[in-house]
C-alpha cells in the first residue's frame, strides 16, 4: 500500500526540528544580548532638559569647573544639581534678558524648583557615593564621559554592576591625581606605574563586598 508520508516530508520534518531547537536557543540568548545593548542601557540618548543648558559652552567657553556647580560631589553622596540662585549669580548680570533663561528666572522669582531630568539613574538599592570616589582620585570623566563636549548630557557608561566591579577590582587602572579630578582631557603618561603609586598614596581599597553599595 501507499506510505503515509511523502519523500519531501523528511526534509520538511528535519528543517522543522532544526527550527525548533534554534528557536529555543534564540529565546534564551536574545534577551541576554538585548540587555547588553546601549538601547536597553539607555546609553548615548541625549535627554531633553527644561532649560537648554549647554555644558560645552559653560565648560569649554567659560572654563567653569565641574565643582563650581556640582560642589556637593566632594562631601556628599550626591553631586548636587545647582540651586537656581547659583545660576542667577551670573545670569542676573549676563544674558539676563535671554529667553533661553526664562525658566530659570521664573523659578528664581516663583521659588519653584526647575524640574531637571535625571540622566545617570542607578536603581534605588544602589548607594553610590560621589564624595569617596572624587576624594580617592576617580575623575568625573571616568564615569560621565566628555560632558564638556555634550550639548545635552547623555549616559556614556552602561552603569551595569559588571561595569562597577570592573573598576572596583582594579582601581589602579582608573585612579588619577586629585588635582586632575575634573580634568576632562587628562591622560596618564603611564598609568601602569602611576596607578599603583596613587592607590598607595590615597589609600584606595578594592572593595567588592555587597554592603559597600547595597544596604
Amino acid at each position: 500500500m501507499a506510505a503515509l508520508f511523502r519523500p519531501w516530508t523528511n526534509t520538511a520534518f528535519r528543517i522543522g526540528l532544526i527550527g525548533l531547537v534554534g528557536g529555543a536557543i534564540t529565546l534564551v540568548a536574545a534577551p541576554m544580548i538585548w540587555v547588553r545593548t546601549p538601547n536597553w542601557r539607555k546609553q548615548f540618548d541625549a535627554i531633553d532638559q527644561p532649560v537648554e543648558f549647554d555644558h560645552r559652552h559653560h565648560v569649554q567657553d567659560d572654563g567653569i569647573d565641574c565643582l563650581y556647580c556640582h560642589k556637593e560631589a566632594t562631601v556628599s553622596a550626591t553631586a548636587g544639581i545647582p540651586s537656581t540662585d547659583l545660576c542667577m549669580g551670573c545670569h542676573n548680570q549676563i544674558w539676563n534678558k535671554s529667553p533661553m533663561l526664562e525658566p530659570v528666572r521664573r523659578s528664581y522669582f516663583s521659588g519653584l524648583p526647575i524640574p531637571w531630568n535625571r540622566v545617570h539613574d542607578v536603581p534605588d538599592f544602589v548607594y553610590f557615593n560621589h564624595a569617596i570616589h572624587v576624594n580617592k582620585g576617580i575623575g568625573c570623566v571616568s564615569c560621565h564621559g566628555r560632558v564638556d563636549e555634550m550639548g545635552r548630557v547623555y549616559q556614556v557608561a552602561d552603569l551595569s554592576m559588571n561595569w562597577c566591579l570592573n573598576c572596583h577590582r582594579q582601581p589602579e587602572s582608573h585612579v588619577r591625581p586629585l588635582d586632575r579630578i575634573t580634568d576632562m582631557t587628562w591622560k596618564a603618561a603611564d598609568q601602569s606605574t602611576l596607578g599603583p603609586y596613587l592607590v598607595r598614596e590615597y589609600g584606595v581599597r578594592s572593595i567588592t563586598n555587597c554592603s559597600a553599595c547595597h544596604r
Binding site: G80, N117, D124, I132, G203, C210, S211
Partner: protein
C-alpha cells in the same frame, strides 16, 4: 470549660519546679493548638487584600519585564531632580544635621537630638548633655517622630464641625470679658513650661475669677502631698541612684515610664553592672502588683496588691525603727503610731529588708510610685530620712510642675460647675479629657452644658468632636516652646519643620486669650527666655541655649526637709483606718500603657505593634491577672472576662445629661506569673474612638471603671463570659527548657565560680579553614544584667531601618518584622519567677549557617565581619531563615507598603531613612548592624585619611539604650567597653556549641539576692 481549666491550673501550681508549669503554660495557654489558631483564621480571613491593587499588577508587569530582561533591575522612566531654588547655606543635600529640642510628657521635658535630612526630621536620639536623657531616648521619644508624620492628625480649625478661620476663633478667644473671668475655665495638662507658667500667671492676673484645672489621666501630685504630710510643705524627691546600694521600690516603675526614667536607668545601671575583677552590685527590692520593667530586674520581687503596699511601707518603717535599735531619734508619737504595724507583714522578710537598708545607711533608698496615695509617700519619706538617705540618694526640691495655687480647681469640681452651667467658656489645651477623665464623672455629658468650649489637640478626637471649637495643635517637632526636666532644668523646644497641617501651640492660644490675635510662639518663647537669660548679649546666649537644647544650672535648688511628726502620724492613722478588702471582690489597678501611654500615642503604628515589655502583647490591652486568680476564675489567656464595679451610679449626683457610662467592661484575660493575687491590672489608652484609624477598635477602654483620684480601687466583681479573644503575642514560650541560651547566676555564685559560662565560649572544633579577619571587625556586647526590657532599642531600630508594620493579623501569623526583639524568659518559682531579658538580633556569625544555604549569594560575609543581606539579590527561598538557629531573619510576606498603607504608607514615608533600602515583597531582611552608619563612618574616615575612631560608629539600638546595656564597636578598638566586656568571665555566645561563632557576646544575668531572705 471553667472547671477543667481550673484543674489544669491546680496541676500546674502543684508542679514542684517551675519547669512543668512553664511547659504546660506554653502548650496549653500561651500558644493554643493549631486547630484553635485555625479557628482564629476562618477561610479567607487572613490578610487577603480585598481587591487586587494596581501596584500588584504593576509588580506582575515588572516581573515579566524582568523575566524578559534577564537582569536584576528594570529601568524606570526618566526620574526628576528638584534642586533648591534658594539653598539654605547650612544644608548639604544628602547629609543629616542634628538639632537639639525636647519632648514634653506629663509636663516634664526630655532633651533630644533630632536628625534632619534635606529638611525633614527622620530620627530621634537622646541629648547626651541633657540631665533627663544622658544620650538615651525612650520608646515614646523614639516613636514620636512617626507621630509627626501621622496623616490622621487634624488639619483644620472647626466650629461645631464646620470649617472655620483662625480670625473667627481668635476674635472669639480674645473677646474682652467683663466678668473678671468668672465664667472662664482653663483645662490644661500638667506643665512645667516657664512660658506657659508666665502666660497663665498673666491670664489669672487679668481674670482673677477664672479657674485653672490641671488634669492628666493620672494623679501626679501624690509625692508632693506626701511631702506635705512628712515635711509640712509640698516637695518632690529627686533620686540619685548613683549613690544607692539598696533600693526598695514601693509600686514604683522608676526605670521605665516616669519623667526621669532615662536618667534613673543610666545611674541605676552604673551601680548594677557587676564588673570584673571586683564584681559589686546594688540590690533592688520591688513591691508591686503588676510586674513592671523595674520589677523584672529586681533581686527580690514581692507580690502585693496596690492597697497592701501602704501596710508594707508601714511594716518596713516599723521594723527599721522598732525592729533593731533606732538609727536616729524620731518623735515618740511616730514610734507609737508605728507599733501596731510591726508584724503586719511577715517579719522575717521585712526584717531582712529593713536590716539591709539600715546597713546601707545613706546608701539606702525607698522609692514610692506615683500610683500610691500621699500617706505611703509620707512613710517613704520617713524611712528615707531615718536612713539618712535624704541628701545622698534622694534630695527634695520644690515641685517642678506648675501649680495654680488658689486659682486651682480639681476636675470633679470643674465638672460639677460645668453641669450646672456655671462655665460659659472652657478652654481645653490638649489632654483629651473626654477620653481620659475617669468614668466616674461624666465629662462628656457635662461638656454639653458649657456655652462655648475650645479644644486644642493633635487629633479631632473624642474631645475635639464635642467641643464647639477645635484647633489643630502643632507636633512638638513643628513648634516653638519650652519646658522643664524632672529636675527642673529649663529646656527649649525648637521646630525642625514648618507645621505640616498648620496648627497652633498652647502658648499661642493662651496669648490669644490675653488679646494678641496673631501670636507667634517663637516670639513668645524668646520673650520668656529674655527674662531667664537676661538682656546682656541675649542673642548669643539664646543661640547657645538652642544649640545645647537646655539651660545648664537651671535645675531646681535642693531644699532642706525636716520630718514633721504629726503629718506622719496622720498618715499612719489613715492607713490604719483603711478598710479590709471584701473577700469575694477583686482589686482593680490602672496603669499607664508603656506604649500608648494614656492613649495619646494610640495612633502610632510602631507603638501599637511594639510588644509589651512584660506580656509581649501587641495591638491590645488585657486584664492581667495572677495564676491563682486565673485558677479561681477558671480562665486562660484570651478568655473574655466581664469586670463590674458595683455601687457606681450614686458616685455622681445627676447623670441625667447623657446615658450613664457603662460600669462593666469586658476584655480578655492574660495570665502573668509574678502578678499579685486577687488583683486585676488594666492598662489605659486603648479602645479609642473614630478619627484615629490606626487605634480604632484596638483594645478596650477601661476608663469607665476609673474613679477620680484613684489609681487602684477595690471591690470589683469578675465573671468569665466564656468567649475568646485572640491576643497577638510576639513570644509565646517563656521557658528555657534548660537550654544554654540566657545564662544567669547570683552574685555569690559568680564570685565563687566565675567561669560558669566557660562551656558557652572559646574555640570550637571545626573542619572549616579559619577565615582571617583583619582591620575593623564589627561586634556587639550585651549585658543582660542591666537590660530592663524597656524596648527602646526595638523602636530605635524600627525608626533607623525603615521596618514595616504588619498589623495584628500579621503578628497573629507570626510575621512581625522587628529586626531586634527582646526575648523574655521566666525561670524559678511558679508564682514569682526570675525574669531574664535577652535582646535578640542577628548574631553576625562568623560561620553563618544562613549564608551557605543561599543559592544566589544574597547573604554573604563581608571582610569586616558583617553578615550582609543583599535585598536586591534575594529571590526569597527562605532557606536562610530555616537554617538560622536564632530565628532573627524576617521575610516580606507581602509588599507591606502596599498591603498595609494605613500603617506604612501615606506621608509616613517622609520618615523613612534615605540610607536604607525599603524592602520589596518576597525578600528576606534582618539586622545589618546599621551598616549604613558603618559605611558612612568608613567613607568619612577614608576621606580624612584616618582610621575609624573608637566610638565613632554605633548602632541605633546601642545609642538608644537607657542603661547602655548594648555596646557596639570594632574588635580592633581594644580599649572600648565593648571589647573589655567580652573579656569578663560571664560573657558567652548563645548556642555556642553549634559553632556558628556569633559576633554578639552576651554577659550573663547576675542577680544579687539578700542571703537573709529565704
Amino acid at each position: 470549660m471553667g472547671n477543667d481549666v481550673r484543674a489544669l491550673w491546680e496541676r500546674i501550681l502543684a508542679g514542684k519546679t517551675g519547669r512543668d508549669y512553664w511547659r504546660s503554660l506554653a502548650e496549653l495557654v500561651s500558644e493554643g493548638s493549631p486547630e484553635d489558631r485555625q479557628r482564629e483564621f476562618p477561610e479567607g480571613a487572613d490578610e487577603r487584600p480585598d481587591e487586587p491593587s494596581r501596584r500588584s499588577f504593576m509588580k506582575l508587569l515588572g516581573a515579566s519585564m524582568a523575566l524578559a530582561g534577564v537582569t536584576g533591575c528594570v529601568k524606570d522612566p526618566v526620574e526628576k531632580i528638584l534642586p533648591y531654588t534658594h539653598r539654605p547655606p547650612e544644608v548639604t543635600p544628602g547629609l543629616s544635621r542634628y538639632y537639639a529640642t525636647s519632648m514634653t510628657l506629663d509636663g516634664l521635658a526630655t532633651g533630644l537630638l533630632v536628625a534632619s535630612r534635606d529638611g525633614r526630621p527622620i530620627k530621634i536620639e537622646g541629648n547626651p548633655d541633657h540631665p533627663a536623657s544622658l544620650g538615651a531616648a525612650g520608646v515614646l521619644e523614639q516613636a514620636s517622630i512617626l507621630g509627626l508624620y501621622d496623616p490622621n492628625r487634624a488639619r483644620a480649625i472647626t466650629q461645631k464641625g464646620a470649617l472655620a478661620s483662625w480670625d473667627a476663633l481668635a476674635t472669639e478667644l480674645a473677646r474682652p470679658r467683663t466678668d473678671r473671668g468668672a465664667g472662664l475655665r482653663i483645662l490644661i495638662e500638667p506643665t512645667a513650661s516657664p512660658l506657659l507658667a508666665s502666660l497663665l500667671g498673666r491670664l489669672l492676673a487679668a481674670y482673677p475669677a477664672a479657674r485653672v484645672t490641671v488634669h492628666s489621666a493620672f494623679e501626679t501630685g501624690a509625692a508632693a502631698q506626701g511631702a506635705t504630710l512628712a515635711f509640712g510643705r509640698p516637695l518632690v524627691p529627686q533620686l540619685d541612684l548613683r549613690n544607692a546600694s539598696v533600693v526598695v521600690s514601693l509600686d514604683s516603675d522608676f526605670l521605665d515610664g516616669q519623667g526621669m526614667h532615662l536618667r534613673h536607668s543610666r545611674h541605676f545601671a552604673e551601680r548594677r553592672r557587676p564588673g570584673w575583677p571586683s564584681p559589686t552590685m546594688n540590690r533592688l527590692y520591688v513591691v508591686e502588683s503588676m510586674p513592671s520593667c523595674t520589677g523584672t530586674v529586681a533581686d527580690h520581687k514581692l507580690r502585693r496588691r496596690s492597697s497592701e503596699i501602704g501596710t508594707f511601707a508601714a511594716a518596713l518603717a516599723a521594723e527599721i525603727l522598732l525592729g533593731g535599735k533606732p538609727p536616729s531619734a524620731v518623735s515618740p508619737d511616730i514610734v507609737v503610731a508605728l507599733r501596731p504595724f510591726l508584724g503586719r507583714e511577715e517579719r522575717a522578710l521585712v526584717g531582712a529588708i529593713a536590716r539591709d537598708l539600715v546597713r546601707a545607711g545613706n546608701g539606702g533608698l525607698v522609692v514610692v510610685g506615683d500610683r500610691q496615695p500621699a500617706h505611703v509617700h509620707a512613710l517613704g519619706a520617713l524611712v528615707n530620712s531615718v536612713l539618712g538617705a535624704v541628701g545622698s540618694t534622694v534630695s527634695m526640691t520644690d515641685p517642678i510642675l506648675w501649680n495654680p495655687g488658689t486659682a486651682g480647681q480639681d476636675l470633679a469640681a470643674l465638672v460639677a460647675e460645668m453641669r450646672v452651667g456655671a462655665v460659659d467658656t472652657l478652654v481645653i489645651l490638649g489632654g483629651n479629657p473626654v477620653y481620659t477623665a475617669p468614668g466616674g464623672l461624666d465629662f462628656a455629658g457635662a461638656l454639653g452644658s458649657v456655652r462655648q468650649s475650645f479644644y486644642l489637640g493633635l487629633y479631632a478626637d473624642e474631645t475635639g468632636a464635642r467641643t464647639t471649637w477645635f484647633v489643630p495643635e502643632t507636633h512638638y517637632l513643628e513648634a516653638w516652646g519650652d519646658g522643664r526636666a524632672g529636675d527642673g532644668t529649663a529646656s527649649v523646644v525648637q521646630p525642625l519643620i514648618r507645621p505640616l497641617f498648620g496648627g497652633r501651640t498652647d502658648a499661642e492660644i493662651l496669648a490669644t486669650l490675653l488679646g494678641t490675635t496673631y501670636p507667634s510662639a517663637h516670639a513668645l518663647v524668646r520673650e520668656q527666655w529674655r527674662t531667664m537669660l537676661g538682656e546682656t548679649d541675649f542673642e548669643a546666649r539664646w543661640e547657645a541655649t538652642l544649640r545645647r537644647g537646655f539651660l545648664p544650672g537651671s535645675e531646681a535648688p535642693v531644699v532642706r526637709a525636716d520630718l514633721a511628726a504629726p503629718g506622719i502620724v496622720a498618715a499612719l492613722a489613715t492607713l490604719a483606718a483603711a478598710p479590709a478588702p471584701a473577700p469575694d471582690r477583686y482589686e482593680l489597678g490602672f496603669y499607664y500603657d508603656s506604649k500608648v501611654h494614656d492613649g495619646r500615642f494610640a495612633n502610632n503604628p510602631w507603638l501599637q505593634e511594639l510588644p509589651d515589655p512584660t506580656t509581649k502583647i501587641t495591638w491590645d490591652n488585657a486584664a492581667v491577672i495572677s495564676i491563682r486568680t486565673a485558677s479561681e476564675l477558671g480562665v486562660m489567656n484570651g478568655d473574655l472576662i466581664e469586670i463590674t464595679l458595683p455601687g457606681f451610679d450614686n458616685a455622681v449626683p445627676a447623670v441625667t445629661t447623657s446615658p450613664p457610662p457603662a460600669t462593666t467592661v469586658v476584655l480578655p484575660a492574660f495570665v502573668m506569673a509574678g502578678h499579685a493575687d486577687r488583683a486585676i491590672s488594666l492598662r489605659l489608652g486603648y479602645g479609642r474612638g473614630a478619627a484615629l484609624p490606626v487605634a480604632e477598635g484596638v483594645g478596650t477602654n477601661v476608663q469607665p471603671l476609673r474613679r477620680q483620684g484613684r489609681s487602684f480601687l477595690d471591690g470589683a466583681s469578675v465573671r468569665p463570659t466564656g468567649e475568646k479573644h485572640a491576643l497577638a503575642q510576639t513570644q509565646k514560650h517563656w521557658e528555657l527548657h534548660d537550654r544554654p541560651i540566657a545564662l544567669s547566676a547570683t552574685l555569690e555564685a559568680y564570685r565563687d565560680k566565675p567561669g560558669f559560662t566557660r562551656e558557652q565560649k572559646g574555640p570550637v572544633l571545626s573542619i572549616l579553614p579559619a577565615v582571617d579577619y583583619t582591620g575593623e571587625q564589627w561586634a556587639m556586647s550585651i549585658d543582660m544584667s542591666i537590660c530592663t526590657g524597656c524596648s527602646a532599642c526595638v523602636v530605635a531600630c524600627q525608626a533607623e531601618n525603615n521596618i514595616p508594620v504588619v498589623g495584628k493579623a500579621g503578628v497573629l501569623r507570626s510575621r512581625e518584622m522587628h529586626w531586634l526583639r527582646i526575648d523574655t524568659y521566666h525561670t524559678g518559682e511558679v508564682d514569682t519567677p526570675e525574669v531574664v531579658h535577652q535582646p535578640m538580633l542577628c548574631q553576625h556569625c562568623e560561620k553563618a549557617p544562613c549564608e551557605y544555604v543561599c543559592p544566589v549569594n544574597a547573604t554573604v560575609h563581608s571582610p569586616d565581619g558583617l553578615n550582609e543581606m543583599v535585598y536586591n539579590r534575594c529571590i526569597g527561598t527562605r532557606f536562610c531563615s530555616n537554617n538560622c538557629p536564632y530565628k532573627v531573619r524576617r521575610f516580606n510576606w507581602f509588599d507591606w507598603m502596599e498591603e498595609k498603607p494605613e500603617f506604612n504608607g501615606d506621608i509616613r514615608t517622609l520618615q523613612k531613612n534615605p540610607d536604607v533600602t525599603v524592602r520589596e515583597r518576597g525578600v528576606m531582611e534582618k539586622c545589618t548592624f546599621c551598616v549604613q552608619r558603618i559605611r558612612r563612618a568608613e567613607i568619612d574616615a577614608s576621606i580624612e585619611r584616618r582610621a575609624i575612631r573608637p566610638g565613632e560608629v554605633t548602632t541605633a539600638c546601642a545609642q538608644a539604650c537607657p542603661t547602655s546595656a548594648i555596646r557596639f564597636g570594632s574588635l580592633a578598638h581594644k580599649e572600648t567597653d565593648m571589647v573589655r566586656w567580652r573579656e569578663e568571665p560571664r560573657s558567652f555566645g548563645v548556642l555556642h556549641e553549634l559553632g556558628t561563632r556569633p559576633r554578639i557576646q552576651y554577659l550573663a544575668l547576675i542577680k544579687n539576692p539578700n542571703p537573709e531572705v529565704g
